[in-house]
């Protein structure tokens, strides 16, 4: 997994790629939570378009990010779900919990 972070006035944007599994989800979780708490932008976007696989620990990290964002009054938005990430969110019935957009432009315009 690779994670990089961008910021502008309206959002913190996480670009993820590769596989998110138990080997690296602690790093993913810690990076996202730290950035959410430090940057405090109105939106938090998680770009999953380059993620090939995500396990339940990755889903758990997204839930924690969602809760941390809500606590700080930010919106937590997923963009560019791959088939695999969409599958795992649907299986867990959590896809309705998240704001989901096809791409970053739509998410920023929302």
């Amino acid at each position: 997994m690779h994670i990089s972070t961008r910021r502008n006035d309206k959002a913190t944007i996480f670009d993820l790629s590769g596989d998110i599994d138990f080997a690296n989800s602690p790093l993913f979780r810690d990076s996202v939570l730290r950035e959410i708490r430090e940057s405090r932008r109105p939106r938090v976007l998680v770009n999953l378009s380059q993620v090939r696989y995500m396990d339940s620990s990755g889903v758990a990290s997204l839930i924690e990010g969602l809760k941390a964002s809500r606590d700080l009054g930010s919106r937590f938005i997923l963009v560019g779900l791959s088939r695999s990430t969409r599958d795992v969110l649907q299986l867990s019935r959590l896809i309705k919990v998240f704001e989901v957009y096809d791409n970053e432009e739509q998410a920023m315009a929302s």
Partner: protein, 143 residues
């Protein structure tokens, strides 16, 4: 048979192996993904809960063809046996959680049960055994 340690860095290697195996056996792509996810989640559960995140504990995986008679027809399938040698698993901890809850954790077992036709936990001697079986739709065959 595949022998590995409980270090999660091996998860991606196992996923690659299971993906190729299920493709070779003729499972459709959606089932290949779900079986791979089930095995990944099962190994994660062993590493986390049985071995307490220790990285150097042994896990053995066995793969073999399975067969059953269903609606008068023979169905071919894949049986996967995962073995670890930690203290017995508490069955109460193998229930998963309600999907109505919105909280981290507890989803792995749910994914395993959704993916597989058979999910059985047994204890044999000093070994915890998790048996997973998935059958192909009728008309398909395992090689």
């Amino acid at each position: 048979m595949l022998a590995l340690y409980s270090n999660p860095k091996w998860l991606s290697v196992v996923r690659g192996t299971v993906e190729r195996l299920t493709e070779t056996l003729g499972f459709p792509i959606a089932q290949r993904r779900s079986i791979t996810r089930a095995v990944d989640e099962a190994l994660t559960n062993i590493a986390r809960h049985s071995y307490g995140n220790r990285l150097d504990q042994p896990i053995a995986m066995y793969f073999r063809r399975a067969q059953r008679r269903h609606d008068g027809q023979v169905q071919q399938g894949l049986e996967i046996l995962l073995c670890d040698s930690d203290p017995p698993v508490d069955p109460c901890k193998l229930q998963g959680r309600s999907l109505d809850e919105i909280r981290p954790g507890g989803l792995g077992l749910h994914f395993i049960r959704q993916a597989m036709d058979t999910v059985e936990f047994t204890r044999k001697g000093p070994t915890n055994r998790l048996r997973l079986v998935k059958y192909l739709a009728q008309g398909n065959s395992v090689l």
